[in-house]
Assembly symmetry: C2
Homo-oligomer: 423 residues x 2
């Protein structure tokens, strides 16, 4: 005979059991949710670069096959690549494009797009095109090592913006065709990268939009048109820069204001209206108009170095580097070409006393054959053609040795481009 109340006790026990299950369930669910929220990032976080990281902070490769069917500035019928079609709100337009193309947005702030070029037709100078080819090869080598893209312009995009003025149209078109690049770097046909390791210290220019090599005092005080060199400059891909290019182009030979500017430039700089004098003038005006902070005249390293000064320093510099290399086997380590940047970092501590630019024993960054005019032959009468050719061979081979070592070879004699020997 069951005890009175035992029928009541069974349901109570059962409910207690259920209560235990429930409490455990609640407890673990809280833990589960907490863990899940850490292991399944919200969709918004997935869009961030974090989700694309690999090897720590490595952004994704460009997705070349992705262009969403969403309207951008390219779809605006009034958009154009020429100076005849001014652009407004470029910062916003570019930013929107980047948001729609996350694989390009990621890391874009350090991205440089190189532009160089020369005339359309064969050089008047014998051997001119031969040197242009080698100069271009050098730039492509530098770009490859640092993962930059490069474009060679060999047409007058504006038929009246002739000679050195042609670069303005090329730079502008490049900025619009390459919204993924924060900086466009114009570099003359006759400039050579002579330090394959060095990179433009972009962090130095975080508040600026235009960087050119020169001597501030020469430009701002002496009003010397040779106080800077328009053969190598960086320009940020932004509205300010488009406006700057408009102002610069306004002084060009195609402009209705050309004559007016010619007189002003002659008065201010005692020199005619070429692109460089016009640039110097713009910089002087920038300084006066409180926009000076957007332009930087870089004196600290050879963003553009004069070949005549550099050519005889190369032997000493090479000797120094060879000495240093003997003392640290990490510097002699062979490696895939595309990890060269790692070894550039290994070199840096060894170069802390090297200095930069003139008077230093650091490799010159860019060596520019200003005045040699290898293509059109209008050489500066101070030099002989032979001295130019000779120096070009030497400098190009000096640069080439830094590339060729990745392929196991070297030019033993810098004056002879045709002979190499295995390292």
């Amino acid at each position: 005979m069951t005890q009175p109340g035992s029928a009541n006790r069974k349901p109570t026990v059962f409910f207690l059991f259920l209560a235990g299950v429930l409490i455990a369930f609640l407890f673990l669910s809280v833990i589960f949710t907490f863990s899940s929220s850490n292991s399944l990032p919200a969709l918004s976080r997935l869009r961030s670069t974090d989700a694309c990281n690999c090897n720590g902070n490595n952004p994704p490769r460009f997705n070349l096959g992705f262009d969403p069917p969403v309207l951008t500035f390219y779809d605006d019928p009034s958009f154009g690549y020429t100076f005849a079609k001014p652009i407004k709100n470029w910062d916003k337009k570019r930013r929107e494009w980047l948001m729609l193309h996350p694989s390009f947005a990621s890391g874009s702030e350090d991205r440089i797009f190189l532009v160089t070029g020369s005339q359309s037709l064969p050089c008047q100078n014998p051997k001119g095109d031969h040197f242009l080819l080698r100069f271009y090869r050098n730039k492509v080598d530098y770009s490859r090592i640092h993962g930059y893209d490069i474009f060679y312009n060999n047409v007058l995009l504006d038929p009246k913006m002739v000679g050195c003025w042609a670069k303005l149209s090329a730079v502008r078109a490049a900025m619009l065709a390459h919204p993924e690049a924060e900086w466009t770097w114009w570099i003359d046909e006759d400039a050579v990268f002579t330090d394959m390791d060095f990179k433009v210290p972009l962090e130095r220019y975080k508040d600026q939009n235009f960087v050119v090599h020169g001597w501030p005092r020469e430009v701002y005080e002496e009003k010397n048109w040779l106080g800077l060199n328009a053969g190598s400059f960086l320009i940020r891909n932004c509205q300010w820069s488009l406006d700057f290019l408009d102002a610069w182009a306004d002084m060009g030979p195609q402009s209705k204001n050309h004559e007016k500017w010619r007189k002003i430039l002659l008065t201010t700089f005692k020199h005619g209206a070429d692109d460089q004098t016009a640039l110097a003038y713009l910089l002087v005006k920038e300084r006066e108009d409180q926009l000076r902070s957007k332009v930087h005249i870089e004196i600290g390293y050879y963003l553009e170095g004069y070949w005549l000064v550099i050519k005889d320093t190369l032997k000493n510099i090479t000797d120094k580097y060879v000495d240093i290399e003997k003392g640290d086997k990490k510097l002699r380590r062979r490696h895939a070409e595309l990890v060269s940047e790692k070894y550039a970092k290994v070199w840096e501590p060894h170069l802390k006393d090297a200095g930069y630019g003139y008077g230093s024993w650091r490799r010159p960054f860019v060596t520019h054959f200003a005045g040699c005019q290898p293509c059109n032959g209008k050489i500066n009468p101070s030099f002989s053609r032979e001295s130019c050719w000779e120096a070009m061979d030497k400098v190009l081979n000096y640069a080439d040795n830094q590339v060729l070592r990745n392929y196991g070879f070297t030019h033993p004699d810098l004056s002879d481009p045709s002979v190499v020997s295995p390292l």
Copy 2:
């Protein structure tokens, strides 16, 4: 007074409660573990490309500053870049290097590294270097659009491997300097990319290691040294290929076996021991030695197309493309240069009846000025120099128009490289 046995009942109830908690705990833990194993990938999976994905399957960008202090084949003192230093176990060595460099490993199976080049010294032919510069520019444009790297070799890495033999040394050195690239593509100095959209269909060659354009029957049956063209070939970065290059180089002018091979080639192909005849011979031997499956003579599209046949088809092809473009505004959409591959895909359905190569109305992929010899001037007597220059201008401008449109311009007249107008 408590019931007899009630003191026993309280512990039982408590244990039942605990049992409920335990069961619930076990149940939820199973679920939790299952879910966790899907949301927190094992470390081994993190190393896969999945963890680097962004925008769906987008691998990480190259980490140019990463080279771990772990021994690789580069550190082996016996390693060298020349034919004098044969290499064994290359597949394993390369695989190990890739494992140590995951940002390069990811996507490496489709990666192509282009190599081209010319002689070290100025061209004997007037305008020769001018055309070499434009040919090179064209290749850099193609590489930029498709994210390939390119190297221009202008030295004899082996002083006796002269003329066309020089490419073998360059290709070998490139393979070793670029372990991240699955394929190396040699392309002659006088070849032009005339379809900027087309990409080599690598999936076609998943079981092969060497691809060259030609006509199988001409090579294998007719023993015709012109049955293929060594001006454009792809070679996989593997041990088989290094062995293949060794065998090919063994027939070269620097080889002690050169005279022996010269006689064999003369007998088999009625032609002397140049690199192309040697290659044809190797292919014939491959077929006989049951390794035929590793070589593919591509007849299906213009991996290398003859300029004389192509030059007069360009107008019709252009008309066809313009017609198609008029009918689909997506094809006319402006875009950043680096998303051109997206529009190549949009084009494909419109080209499904175009065919490929000879007789098709598809843009020819590569147009090769075989016989024109723009640099050394040893032109095939069937052509005049003027007909070559004229055709080169036309073909180069035809290709350039496909690039320039990304910058907003076009050559209205294919015979004039100097004039462009805004689109």
